[in-house]
Amino acid sequence: MSNSAAIGTQTEKSTWRNKVGLAEMLKGGVIMDVINPEQARIAEDAGAVAVMALERVPADIRKHGGVARMSDPAMIQEIMDTVTIPVMAKARIGHIIEARILEAMGVDFIDESEVLTPADEEFHIDKNIFRVPFVCGCRNLGEALRRIGEGAALIRTKGEAGTGNVVEAVRHMRTVLGHVRKLQTMDRAELMTEAKNLGAPYDIVLHIAETGKLPVPNFSAGGVATPADAALMMHLGAETVFVGSGIFKSGDPAERAKRIVDAVMHYRDYERLVDISKGLGEPMVGIDIHKMSDTEKFADRGW
């Protein structure tokens, strides 16, 4: 990407408002994991608002085991050349150079993702110094606010990726938004101690107590497999959903992708959700969270 000469007067590129602004424009859309240009085109035709380019969807990362890394830039580039919607790609937690490579090739959003094997088990990337916007996962409000403090322009609750089981997505969304509501009931003296207990920046805690909202959009990820799952996450307060394995691990990906897009838009219209849910064929096979060992859970990665 060129860092071209100034346009107009007082021009600034890649400002905080530019980063959060792109996240704002993704609201109410669906972001889909794709592994090749064909899938990217199916996602775009179904009405996806963005695609996440990666070599293996989370369900396959689980199956294959080993170390999961940033995808081949050649494969990401092919997808960028195929679709006109924004393209996101994943870097490992703390892997500054994977993130710099993705930024240099001009991806529209980087996901510093627990789905990949962490490169740093203590520190996340300092995202404020990048020109590209970042999205990060969280299980609770403290984790969300630490990531925003580091510069994330978009937050997604983690859920448990690659399971086709929405239970963790629900748990994390309820945990985050329940805590937002709790902050709104506290007085100033309580909020400092609450910030300490959360391990979160005090100024952002104050902002939330005043506005009742995170300072960046809050999406849901990890376990959405059906249109009803997507609508459930919207009902619980997600501003949109990421769907990973749920689409291309199902029987009819093109149709399922389209139905999930429709379900997000019409999540309050239950009659319409009947038709949206009808005759959709096999969803991806799900995994019972309680039968997984702790080391198999991606959501515990992140500090």
């Binding site: 990407m1 060129s2 071209s4 346009i7 107009g8 007067t9 007082q10 021009t11 600034e12 590129k13 890649s14 400002t15 408002r17 530019n18 602004g21 792109l22 704002e24 424009m25 993704l26 609201k27 109410g28 859309g29 775009e44 035709d45 179904a46 009405g47 996806a48 608002v49 963005a50 006109t84 919607i85 924004p86 930024e103 001009g106 529209d108 959003f109 020109r131 590209v132 916007p133 897009v261 429709d262 838009m265 019409h266």
Partner: protein
């Protein structure tokens, strides 16, 4: 009676537009279906992804009714993706052309005309009829080209057209809804809708 302003709420930045319009005292209706549009005196088409929004317009049978209402004089204010959807055609370039549009505004647009997200920017914009510049936020923004004879150019960035008006259609390539500067929305309500 206050005018009822519809905000197309299929996907994208509709909540921010609704907030600004409410701040200015408008009665706002979220438009997802034709029956919602029927209750509105004017329509705001927000930013988001134009490829997503056009599909949702078609699937929810809104595309033809918006065109009918606009042809009957309904004012429309469109931003970013909304501008793309309002335009007569999408100029082919690096990006794929041929995407369907509503074809109401006599201009062509180049999608992502300034580049991808890393080229998103803010700039002070001199807008025709405004006394002081407005800070404008451009996000993967389109550029307007081939401006037709009935179209008034209201703002440019480096000679690239980024804001126009054609009768009751007002369109901007940037995001006035993301600012605390409500002048463009106020112009739409006072000079376009009420005029």
């Amino acid at each position: 009676m206050p005018k009822r302003i519809g905000v197309l709420a299929l996907q994208g930045g509709y909540a921010a537009h609704a907030k600004v319009l409410q701040r200015l005292g408008a009665d706002v209706i979220e438009v997802r279906l034709p029956e919602h549009l029927a209750q509105c005196d004017a329509l705001v088409m927000p930013g988001g992804e134009s490829t997503t929004i056009i599909r949702l317009l078609q699937r929810n049978l809104l595309d033809t009714v918006i065109v009918e209402r606009a042809n009957a004089g309904m004012p429309i204010f469109a931003t970013c993706a909304g501008l793309i959807l309002l335009s007569k055609r999408i100029a082919s370039g690096a990006e794929r052309g041929g995407q369907p549009t509503l074809g109401l505004l006599d201009v062509a647009v180049v999608r992502n005309g300034f580049g991808r997200q890393l080229d998103s920017f803010e700039a002070d914009l001199q807008i025709k009829g405004f006394e002081t510049p407005l800070r404008a936020i451009f996000i993967r923004a389109p550029i307007i080209t081939d401006v037709g004879p009935g179209v008034d150019v209201l703002a440019t960035v480096d000679d690239k057209v980024v804001m126009v008006q054609q009768g009751k259609l007002l369109a901007a390539a940037f995001h006035p809804e993301l600012l605390n500067d409500d002048r463009i929305h106020a112009h739409f309500l006072d000079a376009v809708v009420e005029h």
